[in-house]
């Protein structure tokens, strides 16, 4: 089993602006001593609420932020690598809100072209754009559309297409369906499940929604206030949670009335 991504004692502290000239600058400890190991083929879920540190973790794993202490390694090499392009070709991301993750001034074609150009992907770009649009269920004539002309579900598909364009090995999805309408969520989750299976993608899925994690993730890490409070196989953690926070989370899932 190849270990793709690894976090060792990863911490990130933010200095907050001073309240006044004389007071001390307080700090916000967004991530505290996080250890993580993601092997090829894993489907890992990261569960947490706002302020849990999950987004900070995602940014650090993507090399988009620098840790205060600790390190992120990719295939054994510590970030930042001398050639980040190679890294970015292999690790991609899908964000939560498709309204803000797509540049409103760029067409779908330009949006998907960006990683292909910046990462100097060697295959013909035009063909790859068509290919990746098809794989997310969008037709080729979507290329000339702009984000405001698309529905929420379509935008998220474009975001996924952009992430898949450079043929990454690992996909980090940060709350990929939280901003979508209920009926659309199901479609996108199904799409993610299919793509992960068909493309052999390793998946790190961040979500506060336990049913999403249950559907797509074999392993789970539960985070609270920047700390991983529990981890294990999804089945084990959901069935028999040990940490009080995990128990509260599981108890808070809105359930359907007990009817036929």
């Amino acid at each position: 089993m190849t270990e793709l991504l690894r976090a060792d004692a990863l911490s990130r502290t933010f200095k907050l602006p001073r309240a006044s000239l004389r007071s001390e600058r307080s700090v916000r400890r967004a991530l505290i001593d996080m250890n993580l190991s993601v092997n090829e083929g894993d489907r890992l879920g990261i569960v947490g609420e706002s302020g849990s540190g999950k987004t900070t973790l995602a940014r650090l794993l993507l090399g988009l932020d620098v840790p205060t202490s600790g390190a992120v390694s990719f295939l054994g090499d510590t970030l930042p690598l001398s050639d980040m392009r190679q890294f970015r070709r292999q690790i991609q991301v899908v964000f939560q809100d498709p309204r803000s993750s797509l540049n409103p001034r760029m067409s779908v074609e330009d949006i998907i072209l960006e990683p292909l150009e910046c990462l100097a992907v060697e295959e013909p770009h035009a063909a790859r754009i068509d290919e990746v649009l098809a794989s997310v269920g969008l037709s080729g004539d979507m290329r000339t559309r702009y984000p405001h002309e698309l529905s929420g579900g379509q935008r998220q598909r474009v975001a996924i297409a952009r992430a898949l364009a450079p043929r990454p090995r690992l996909l980090i999805a940060d709350e990929p369906v939280s901003a979508l309408d209920v009926l659309v969520r199901d479609e996108i989750l199904a799409l993610l499940a299919d793509l992960t299976a068909n493309l052999g993608l390793t998946l790190i899925l961040i979500s506060h929604d336990l049913s999403v994690i249950a559907r797509l993730c074999d392993d789970v890490v539960v985070m609270q206030h920047g700390v991983a409070v529990e981890r294990g196989k999804t089945v084990d953690v959901f069935r028999a949670p040990s940490h009080p926070f995990t128990k509260t989370l599981i108890a808070s899932v809105p359930r359907l009335p007990e009817l036929s």
Binding site: R88, R105, E114, P115, C118
Partner: protein
Amino acid sequence: MMRGNRTLTIGVSLVSFSVLLFLFSFIWTPYDPLEINPDLSLTGPSSSHWMGTDENGRDILSNIIVGSRVTLITGVLAVVICMLVGVSIGIATAMSPKWIESPAIFGIDIVLALPTVLFAIVLAAVYGPSTFTAVFAIGIALSASVAQVTRREVNVILLADYVVAARASGSRIPRIVRKHVLPNLRASLFVQASSASAIAILAESTLSYLGLGTPPPDPSWGRMMASLQQYLIADPIFPLWPGLAIVITVLGFNLLGDGLREALDPTLRRDVE
């Protein structure tokens, strides 16, 4: 979307009027604006001289038409300078690390605190009045406010997920500025340019009025106001013409800026569900 945006329509009309005067000035004027006719001094509006003549017998209408050149050229050049300088500083500051950004903001604030016209007066006093000094002074003074507004807008843009996505796609800073920051700044830049034009033109008129702008003999509305106001008692209509010309132009650019902001500002277009 543009339906019923009266501000924009009026703004465009007024600015067009001044631009037409400008273009017209190269084609034909009723008289040579510089031609002196001492015996025709200070005649009121007549069929031969629609706006009358000044103290040297020069046709006022012709001077108004040609005076538009100084006004618009100074205005446009000053705005070009202030936009180029201001936007560059704004973007650079917003994308710099904190230790550069803080002193830069401080510097911008200092320049911002200087009244535009005062700054221009000082420069003119040191380097002598000329179109160039006026353009330079106004341009630099206005660039501070452009830099400030731009900096704030860029900071907002940089928070958007699509910028983070661009970084995750391997985009480097020059490309991010080119493809993500500038296109999303476009609307704001149009608005700022319009407003800056209004201020620039007013500033140029003030400088000319004080004798610190374009020196004679090139006609200039501001200078005409200064020289003709002495003859208010003779006939109040004399300084009215250059004054009106200035008001129409400045108001036009102001309304243009407001109208553009209304038309282009996405936050004003609320989507109610």
